[in-house]
Subunit: 339 residues, 2 copies
């Protein structure tokens, strides 16, 4: 084995390896106790659908990938992003059925951004949609979602035994079953709220998701496709949304990114509702308060919020010093904190 790195020669035309980078942002916020994401109308489609703010990386215009993304979001939605985090780079296959684009290989870079929705958003044409309208199986705040037991679980098991799904790169049936068990908490395994992307991809592979662009290259839409209230967004963008939600669910536990979604001052209950919205599960009130207060994550202010629906509440703010004190400051919600 001659371990010599092969680099393209200087004379070699580099267009052979040329690809285009597509920058895509899942801009998240919390609105009325629901995780929302920013959308733009998508016109290049069969139907009139929606999309995440996105655009190509233009090396000559954009200093960095991050900057490129920020400028697309600004241009398309008017939102100037604060917290921004790269998620994953998907090497999408060229879309086979988009005429005139067959030769273009697009690499999709997904980002998660965190902001706060503003009151004038709708008036100024900024549209937020609920993440759980697109991923309804992820919201367990009112108990196990019906769509899971009634539609998803039976179809997944069906697909596995009847063999109508496409085996991925020679994956054994047993391995597939184990992945399903872990991802969806079947057969007594625990539901791990962080595995949002895994669940999304398994559903897509199983053909349970309808693609507004008309058919997936991987698996044909089955008759059993889930009926979602809102499905007019491409696979690629829904996958990025799923990545973002999963990342956020994981990250709030060990980094104080939660406060990017909060106003400067907030009540502990508002904070709890935000965490619950993100995790898609209910938390135990008293213990949550203790956790947050004793964890040094917040500082009380002298301000009071009235009209809470009950007794007026003390307002708190994020306590930055915690960054220096603790290695992994976050809302350390473990499984047992469930209400």
């Amino acid at each position: 084995m001659n371990a010599v790195q092969r680099l393209p020669l200087p004379g070699e035309p580099y267009r052979t390896n040329a690809v285009e980078i597509s920058l895509n942002a899942a801009v998240l916020s919390i609105d009325h106790d629901a995780p929302c994401f920013l959308t733009v109308p998508r016109q290049n489609d069969v139907k009139n659908g929606i999309a995440l703010p996105s655009g190509p990386f233009v090396p000559s215009d954009h200093m960095t990938l991050d900057n490129g993304l920020r400028s697309w979001v600004l241009e398309q939605t008017g939102v100037e992003l604060g917290y921004l985090e790269q998620l994953y780079t998907f090497g999408d296959q060229p879309l086979p059925n988009l005429p005139g684009h067959n030769d273009k290989h697009i690499i999709s870079l997904g980002y998660m951004a965190l902001t706060r929705a503003k009151p004038d958003d709708a008036a100024e044409g900024r549209h937020w949609l609920g993440a759980y309208d697109f991923l309804p199986w992820e919201d367990w705040r009112d108990g196990k979602p019906e769509i899971l037991a009634q539609q998803i679980e039976p179809h997944l098991r069906d697909g596995l035994t009847s063999g109508s799904y496409q085996t991925n790169a020679g994956e054994h049936r047993g391995e597939r079953l184990e992945r399903l068990r872990i991802a969806f908490g079947l057969d007594g395994a625990a539901w791990d709220e962080e595995r949002v992307l895994e669940r999304y991809e398994l559903l897509q592979d199983a053909g349970l998701l309808a693609d507004p662009n008309g058919g997936s290259p991987v698996a044909p839409a089955r008759k059993g496709a889930l009926s979602l209230t809102a499905a007019a967004m491409s696979f690629a963008h829904r996958r990025i949304l799923a990545s973002a939600l999963g990342r956020l669910r994981a990250k709030i536990k060990y980094r104080p990114v939660l406060f990017e979604l909060m106003a400067g001052e907030f009540t502990l209950f508002e904070l709890q509702r935000t965490v619950e919205a993100i995790l898609g599960s209910r938390l135990h009130k008293q213990n949550f308060r203790r956790l947050v207060e004793s964890g040094g994550l917040v500082d009380p202010t002298t301000d009071i919020r009235t009209h809470t629906g009950g007794r007026p509440a003390k307002l708190f703010r994020f306590r930055r010093e915690v960054l220096l004190e603790r290695p992994a400051p976050g809302v350390r919600v473990r499984a047992g904190l469930a209400a």
Copy 2:
């Protein structure tokens, strides 16, 4: 604000946004209680240096990004990768001083792979180098590394007060100091072993790292550049190495990736030494054993290892069932488990 997505028109030549993807792998293993990574000789350099296995993504040859990377690693080192994980996508600036390549914008995709070194590697031209030869400040197993107190900390503080570093995008001095404190555990803050990439980038920004390619576009190499035993690898590749180590340190705590680095059967002490090598710190023996055994991560076998240097040890193997039982199975080493 007209929120309409701008896509390139079908007729528009897509070469304007064309970039090349460079796939780069930090292939990690543990050898003699040291975290090692696989290298290839690099010949396109001023000096004869080394590099991570890497190559361009060729859309026509490679089905997916992952496959592209796997095939480059196989071609360049003969290693067939198992566990593979994407790290981060860096939008490198075009190198200003590589003649003939000025117009090529390269996006670097970093990967982490986990394997086990084999006895015949050296004989077959596969070279493993110690990660801590490149990141010596990360190894605290024999106490705080001298390079930190003697070279790094004074230089970082110097650079901050004398103002000889380049401020990043209008970053305030105070913010910079806070980042340094958090990353390097200055002024009583705890050393967070996971912040490997942050530390690497701060050192590079401060001009403390020498680039074998001759000068960084960001900061000129200062006279105070650290003297490392091995520095003949590019900034880009060292950054990927740092990302990989940081990711691995974080990941072993909540996913059983550790066992990708172990033989099928192992003693608990070998497992501990591996964790210590990765984290760069010592752990408490008895508690580590309890943690691992009671955590259901391993199963005892009937086999015994002799010649351990002491009493013969029971051999264990990874217990796969843990994946179904616990949402985040890993070696949950907290700060307090230090020896």
